[in-house]
């Protein structure tokens, strides 16, 4: 039976792509060529007005992403407005455009959860392979500037076939040498530019290699390597599904399209001010900031309500899942990845399908 979920009155956090501009052109950028790559971006006063509305809705956190957020000269002013409106913030960046005075400004607010810098290799040859020449140097410089200013830094490591063998060195660099508390991992998904660069996606055999390496490192670094997608998450999730299957039981809350809980606590905004359910589902336009009230979009927009109601759709409805031994242990996975592959959000995402992974010679690994 589907669970019964309750919606909060307002979102807890909001993800904002404040720009589509970027100094890099990474081959697996999910933003570029997606509907969020709007070209035009809102001017400062529009964001300031929106932050006041977020305060009225008691939103707690804003995540600023892009594009490259530090490309906007008004970033300090935007951050000041977030702070004045009683919220905290995080920034996702490639690091290359961070200036010492801006880093000091962020630190002085006392409200910065973290700045996350993408790091995909321990050396330029590896990091720059999909991100372009100079990207590694920019990321390291950005990290150093932020640390010197006293900003809490973290990293996201996108695992691909050319950095699997370097993961140990990356962990050494980020956790031991730079002294970061933790970093998160994922892998490129079939979104944005990755749709035209097949070489960035992991094959099942590479996924298995990556799982072995990252599970071992996660064990060694005890909780300092995290993930919400990619090989580390998949290895843990697949193992949990297999254990449940072997025990002849389902996993509570699964067996339906429960793959995304995020839309129950947050939403996103594109650079042109369009509300979307998630930065990765940027084709679902829900309205426009400062024209449509956030609380109305959140509570009443029919497309948003329908999307949230995915959790009531049983996996048994889908031919590929109907006879699957994992049906009652499966969430149908992230709808955004599924949409990019199939053009359908109301169906399981084939890229994270365990049955398919096993048919492609995927394996289970012991999770420490």
């Amino acid at each position: 039976m589907a669970e019964n979920r309750q919606l909060m009155k307002t979102p807890k956090s909001v993800d904002i792509d404040i720009t589509s501009r970027c100094n890099l052109r990474c081959k697996y950028c999910y933003h570029r060529t997606s509907p969020a790559d709007t070209g035009n971006e809102l001017p400062t006063p529009e964001w300031l007005e929106f932050f006041r509305e977020l305060a009225e809705c008691a939103v707690m956190d804003v995540t600023i992403a892009g594009g490259e957020p530090f490309i906007r000269d008004d970033l300090p002013e935007l951050v000041d407005s977030i702070v004045a409106n009683r919220m905290r913030f995080s920034i996702l960046s490639n690091g290359g455009l961070i200036k010492p005075e801006v880093a000091k400004h962020l630190a002085a607010t006392g409200r910065c959860n973290h700045v996350q810098i993408s790091v995909d290799g321990s050396r330029p040859e590896i990091h720059d392979r999909f991100r372009g020449a100079g990207a590694f140097e920019g990321a390291m410089r950005g990290l150093r500037i932020l640390q010197e200013a006293g900003v809490h830094v973290t990293s996201r490591v996108t695992i691909h076939k050319y950095n699997i063998a370097d993961l140990e060195n990356i962990a050494l660099l980020l956790l031991d040498q730079i002294g970061m508390g933790s970093f998160s991992t994922n892998s490129a998904s079939y979104q944005g530019l990755a749709r035209t660069h097949d070489d960035v996606l992991l094959s099942p055999a590479e996924q298995c290699d990556a799982m072995v390496k990252i599970l071992d490192l996660a064990k060694r670094y005890q909780g300092r390597i995290t993930s919400s997608a990619g090989p580390l998450s998949q290895a843990k999730n697949y193992q949990e599904m297999e254990q449940a299957r072997l025990a002849g039981r389902g996993i509570p809350g699964r067996g339906f399209l429960t793959g995304c809980g995020c839309m129950w606590s947050k939403l996103a905004v594109r650079p042109d001010g369009t509300y979307v359910p998630c930065g990765m589902l940027s084709h679902i336009a829900l309205g426009r900031i400062n024209q449509d009230r956030l609380i109305d979009i959140w509570q009443n927009h029919p497309d948003f309500l329908r999307l949230r109601a995915r959790y009531k759709i049983p996996l048994s409805n889908f031919p590929e899942c109907a006879d699957c031994a994992y049906q009652m242990t499966c969430t149908g996975n992230c709808p955004a990845g599924g949409y990019a592959r199939t053009g359908e959000v109301y169906a399981p995402n084939p890229d994270d399908c365990l049955k398919r992974f096993l048919a492609d010679d995927g394996r289970f690994f012991a999770v420490p």
Partner: protein
């Protein structure tokens, strides 16, 4: 003579985030910490943000809820103390 209960004042940056079923969170953006509030505590917090004193708080609780605890005053004053101890409110100087 019983000691008068001193009413604390909410700190200006604290956010009351009402979520569902009349429950709420008190969020301190300076620390990133939050605590959950049951409906009675939400009523008290709202009274405090409009400058009401202990007597008005007690009256609001008495009007809105039943059954009431045996020692309502003690419960309210210990909630006041918690708010101050956790940094969400302060006693007037």
């Amino acid at each position: 003579m019983p000691t008068a209960i001193v009413t604390p004042r909410p700190k200006p940056m604290i956010v009351l985030r009402e979520e569902f079923d009349d429950w709420a969170l008190l969020f301190n953006p300076d620390t990133g910490k939050a605590v959950g509030l049951p409906p009675t505590a939400v009523t008290i917090w709202k009274c405090l943000t409009t400058g009401k004193d202990y007597a008005a708080v007690a009256a609001a609780i008495t009007a809105e809820y039943e059954p009431l605890p045996e020692d309502l005053g003690k419960d309210i004053s210990s909630f006041f103390e918690d708010l101050v101890r956790l940094g969400y409110a302060e006693y007037p100087a």
